[in-house]
Point group: C2
Chain length 207, copies 2
């Protein structure tokens, strides 16, 4: 999967090594950014050698793409229970609260791992941009699904566009994270998400 180009089979050991590499890369990238993560760092953190890196990945970009997928998986897993209940304003607010609390716990250091990656790599090669698009879309998906449910159940007006709303929420989220990281305070993130949820609420039906 990951990148094609890899037709060889993976033995159990090989799969474990590959996993270790991706996990280490994702972790390092989250903390130091893509440019700030060298292959030597990855080798050290995953206890592997250059040849192993190049055995499983075509080059650094390829490895970074795998790390982007991994980040997305991790995000989805972390937010899992909340992500499945975004079909009400209360659910959206619970999600926001959890998110903000997590950021505060991290003292608002480091923004969104996916956002940082996108900021750094989205202007690079198209293959990577394509992966980033898919990652964002995947992350926004639960949002879209929840909002669609709300509309179909008549709790949002029929002129509400779940697709557009989900994208706007994601934008508020990303921008909020960026400002929060810059100001080292969850205030901007909170304000951005509050705005986004209020915006959804403005489509709510009377009932």
């Amino acid at each position: 999967m990951t990148t094609a180009q890899h037709t060889s089979k993976l033995t159990a050991r090989g799969a474990a090594t590959r996993t270790r590499i991706v996990a280490a890369t994702a972790d390092l990238v989250r903390r130091h950014g893509a440019a700030g993560t060298s292959l030597d760092d990855v080798m050290a953190a995953s206890r592997t050698s250059k040849s192993q890196l190049y055995h499983y990945f075509a080059n650094k970009d390829d490895l970074l793409r795998a790390a982007a997928w991994q980040q997305t998986d991790r995000i989805m897993a972390t937010q899992r229970p909340e992500l499945d209940q975004l079909d009400s304003l209360a659910g959206l607010r619970r999600w926001r609260d959890k998110f903000v609390a997590a950021r505060d716990e991290a003292q608002n250091v480091g923004g969104c791992p996916l956002g940082s990656l996108a900021s750094e790599l989205a202007d690079g090669d198209p293959q990577t941009r394509d992966v980033l698009q898919k990652c964002f879309t995947a992350w926004a998906s639960p949002l879209r699904i929840g909002l669609t449910a709300m509309r179909d159940q008549g709790r949002l007006r029929s002129d509400a566009d779940p697709e557009a709303l989900a994208e706007a929420i994601m934008a508020a989220l990303q921008g909020g994270l960026l400002l929060s990281k810059t100001y080292r305070s969850s205030r901007p993130l909170t304000r951005a998400l509050d705005m986004a949820i209020d915006h959804v609420a403005s489509f709510a039906t009377a009932r």
Copy 2:
């Protein structure tokens, strides 16, 4: 100003050289990011030498801070007429239209120069983070001023918080730019700004 540490006087030639360096740096950083811009690149683009760079700036970080200021100035100058008329919903919409049009013209390549810089550097040294905070605050200032005017003139309800609204709009802007750059389409930016302006509109008084 820029960084202190520079007590020496600038001759006309010196000032010109310094200006050339900062302009070249800002330009390169806008196109390739901070990590993607080497001092050699700056030297070539500004027709200067290493010693000149280090004569005017303490190190690369110092130079990047100067570039951040320059970016902010440039942004403000570019959006000037619109930025002074953010005291009505119509004014906000004109600003949004101009902004989106500019992004489309650039084919949504490269995001916000300030946003990219923040994403890369906000986790670095505190001095740089401080500059980035000030840059964002300066940029959001016209927004805050316009919204305050609207409220004071009774066109926004008195419970509208211009400070919070301005920050939320800025977040939507940054997030919208990030997604637009990733998707190579102005659609996310448009949706994010529409949401933000609708949010302001939700505080409008009947009149």
